[in-house]
């Protein structure tokens, strides 16, 4: 075994030399060789076996892995399923929480639970409304659904002669009969005849009535009717479904009653504990009976009875304020009322209309391409105010802001991009920030005291700012404008932000944070350009005064410099000469423009960069001045160089200091130090003269 392992190790050794090994072996004659052959043979056999084993092992491992993977896959599937479930749950919760800020909507979540699975049947009932004349009250009961319907013939009770054709609608709690309209108009095909509670309905199968086949009787006190189906099968179906529905309703009612009893018991127990002496059951019963008596009376008020129709009218006439007034009145009225079935029924009728009203109001705020936005914020405010009164402030807020967004987009589209960037930006800022502040004002007016909505406004503002800034960036930075333009644009926007901040809405920090990177890059680029220019011009600076040839040319040049704020009048001599080099003039001009731009966008956060930029530019120029002073070539021009130096370091610097002062910015000491460079140059010159 040991030998085998050694052999294997030897053979697999990295430095194994086959020839060397064999020659070493063969030195000792035939026996070791044969022995060796045997050993190798055994080793190869063992290896083959091991290989087989390993393959098998690998294979089983592979199977295991595959199994693991499939389990994992199943788990992933489960997880994704759970996530979707969670998501729908979240959505429903979100929907519920959206309607959370008034007591009126307390019942809505409960209602929703019932509603959702019945959405379809609800639509069925809506279809009913269209087909049957005068059945609107039928569709107003929540949870009511259509089970079965069909054409039947109504027969005379005594003679079995057909009276008329009817259409029977079996709902889950009642039976509706509608008569066939002989001359139908539009989609209306039947006229509502009666709605009968299933509880009091007795169905009798007419087994045999002589010649009349497929008939059954419906006993609804005080009258009873006979209906004839067109086939035995259809009659059987009717009877079975009627029976089934009745049973289901019975079971449902029983459940409801039991839960009510249980609830009552729960309510009764604590009172029992408190006042043990009196018998709470008696009191309870009295209370309930008097309640019932009270609320039938309660509901029998004229205006209340007419309220649903009045509401319908208000909604139809788009008199939303009137409708909401009515809703508030009824809410106030019903608030004191116990929640008895009669009240609940009435409540349901009202709720249905509140829903319609809400939808109407929402569509008022909805942004649609065909509707003009020119209604403006005032129109929106009216709808918003009503929605808030209905307790839908969250939706109102959302729609209101959406509306505002649409207005901003619309206004932005109206702007044409023409000519100078800064002009466009000025207009854009004007439009955008005006709408922003207007929205803020409107929001204040529309949602007074609804502080929960203000966070929505802030979020909205941020999104709007984002889109504004993206437009801004595209026009200002991506168009490769020069620094003065960019600085102007930024300063326009900043100024607007400051105005908003004065009104209480601070968005400037956001603007600044999002554009500062671009802005700094532009500043640095511009600085490098100027320094590059200085270096380039210093190479061929011959230190000659400018000669403009004629007086007018000379004055024109002076005028040009004056336009950027540089006074060179004192340096004019011999009519057309200026005692400054062209290089100095150009430097001054570039410097002034740069300083102007930088000061325009001056901010504490950028102070270091701005100071540094100016210092570096000056240093580059000073370097040129210094090397010129030290240069043998310009020995005779020393006085002239000094004069230029003085202009740059004292006149120009003073001018910049003045600009700082005008902007109310403290002149940084780094620049003061640069100012001192002139004295240094002067001393250098003095030393050289010695």
């Amino acid at each position: 075994m040991m030998a085998d392992q050694r052999l294997a190790r030897d053979l697999t050794d990295q430095g194994f030399d086959a020839e060397n090994y064999v020659s070493k072996l063969s030195e000792e004659g035939e026996m070791p060789l044969l022995e060796m052959k045997q050993k190798v043979h055994i080793l190869s056999e063992k290896t083959a076996l091991e290989l087989k084993k390993n393959v098998y092992k690998n294979y089983s491992q592979f199977i295991e892995t595959a199994r693991e993977i499939s389990i994992l896959e199943g788990e992933m599937y489960q997880v994704s399923h759970m996530l979707t479930e969670q998501k729908t749950l979240m959505n429903t919760m979100l929907e519920m929480s959206l309607v959370s800020d008034k007591a009126i909507v307390e019942e809505i979540p409960k209602e929703k639970e019932v509603e959702n699975p019945e959405e379809e049947t609800r639509r069925n009932l809506a279809f009913l409304l269209e087909k049957v004349e005068g059945c609107s009250s039928v569709t107003e009961v929540p949870g009511r659904q259509l089970i079965h319907n069909g054409d039947l013939a109504e027969l005379d009770l005594e003679t079995f002669v057909q009276v008329h054709r009817v259409h029977m609608f079996l709902l889950n709690d009642s039976l509706m009969i509608a008569t066939w309209l002989p001359n139908r108009r539009g989609p209306v095909r039947y006229r509502f005849q009666g709605l009968y509670e299933l509880d009091n309905l007795a169905i009798v199968n007419i087994r045999d009535a002589g010649p009349v086949k497929n008939a059954f009787k419906v006993l609804m006190f005080p009258d009873s009717k006979i209906y004839q189906a067109d086939s035995a099968k259809s009659k059987r179906q009717w009877l079975d479904i009627l029976e089934d529905t009745k049973k289901k309703k019975l079971a449902r009612d029983k459940q409801k009653r039991e839960s009510v009893v249980r609830l009552n018991e729960q309510q009764v127990t604590p009172t029992q504990n408190v006042e043990e002496s009196s018998n709470p059951f008696d009191e309870r019963a009295e209370e309930i009976s008097s309640d019932i008596a009270m609320d039938t009376e309660y509901l029998n008020v004229d205006w209340l009875q007419e309220l649903p129709e009045d509401l319908d009218m208000c909604i139809a006439q788009r008199d939303f304020v009137g409708a909401v007034d009515l809703v508030e009145r009824v809410n106030e009225y019903l608030k004191e009322c116990q929640k008895t079935p009669a009240v609940k029924e009435f409540r349901a009728r009202i709720d249905h209309r509140i829903k319609l009203l809400t939808e109407g109001l929402m569509s008022e705020l909805q942004v649609s391409p065909e509707r003009s936005l020119r209604g403006g914020p005032r129109a929106a405010r009216r709808a918003v105010a009503q929605l808030i009164r209905l307790g839908r402030s969250a939706q109102a807020c959302e729609l209101f802001l959406k509306n505002r967004s649409a207005i901003i987009i619309y206004n932005n589209r109206q702007l044409k991009f023409e000519g100078a960037t800064s002009l466009y930006i000025r207009c854009l800022c004007g439009v955008f920030f005006t709408s922003l502040s207007e929205t803020g004002r409107e929001f204040h007016k529309a949602f007074p005291e609804h502080f929960g909505c203000f966070s929505a406004f802030i979020v909205w503002t941020k999104t709007e700012m984002e889109s504004f800034i993206s437009i801004f960036k595209r026009h200002v930075f991506d168009s490769k404008s020069n620094l003065p333009t960019i600085a102007e644009c930024v300063s326009i926007a900043s100024k607007h932000c400051d105005e908003l901040a004065a009104g209480g809405l601070d968005v400037g920090f956001y603007l600044d944070a999002t554009i500062s990177e671009n802005l700094e890059r532009v500043i640095i680029e511009e600085r490098d350009n100027i320094i590059e220019g200085i270096k380039y011009r210093s190479q061929d600076d011959l230190w000659r005064p400018m000669n403009h040839g004629t007086e007018t040319e000379c004055l024109k040049f002076a005028e040009e410099l004056a336009s950027v704020g540089l006074d060179v009048k004192d340096s004019i001599y011999n009519v057309c000469f200026i005692s400054l080099t062209i290089n100095t003039a150009q430097f001054c001009k570039a410097c002034i423009v740069m300083a102007q731009s930088l000061l325009l966008i001056h901010k504490i956060e950028r102070e270091a960069l701005i100071t540094d930029t100016l210092v570096q530019i000056f240093k580059a120029q000073v370097k040129h001045l210094e090397s010129s002073v030290k240069n043998e070539k310009f020995k005779t021009d020393l006085k002239f160089i000094l004069k230029n130096s003085q202009y740059i370091l004292e006149v120009l610097m003073a001018k910049i200091e003045q600009m700082y002062k005008l902007q109310n910015v403290i002149f940084p000491h780094q620049l003061v130090t640069v100012n001192g460079e002139y004295r240094r140059l002067k001393s250098i010159v003095a030393n050289m003269a010695k």
Partner: protein, 201 residues
Amino acid sequence: MSKAKAQQPAVIHKVIMVGSGGVGKSALTLQFMYDEFVEDYEPTKADSYRKKVVLDGEEVQIDILDTAGQEDYAAIRDNYFRSGEGFLCVFSITEQESFQATAEFREQILRVKNDDNIPFLLVGNKADLEDKRQVTQDEAHQRALSWNVAYVETSAKTRANVDKVFYDLMREIRSRKMRASQQNNGQKKKKKTNKRKCVIL
């Protein structure tokens, strides 16, 4: 016969079968209607039958409502009872409980119809099963007497007294109706008397 009116005799007597489940209301009805006895039991929901019969020489229609003994909704039972003019209150002589139940039915009928003299027959069915009798003739007669109604024992199986109970009840209904129409002096009465002229005379 060719006219619609002539096709159906004008007078319809509405009979209602009441009683506990399984006492043989349907069996009695079917025996009366078709002269046949149905052995296998299937609970009835609510079936109605109509048949032309000759009652004391007059052609009338009998409308039988065979109610469900198991109907557990009192409100619906009320509705059935409202539509009836006469009642056959059936119990099984082999089942004491069904006899006891007749009192409840009677009470409910009187309450619904609000009439102590409503045509009513107490019917003891399954008289062929004498060996299994649990309700004596005596106690049944006594109860009938206290209600001031007739008591008849029937067998749906042997057809004993089947026709009698229906015809007896119809006669009662008819005499009730006549009394009612005599009391009434409205137009309705004239119409009815016209139709039934021969009978009255």
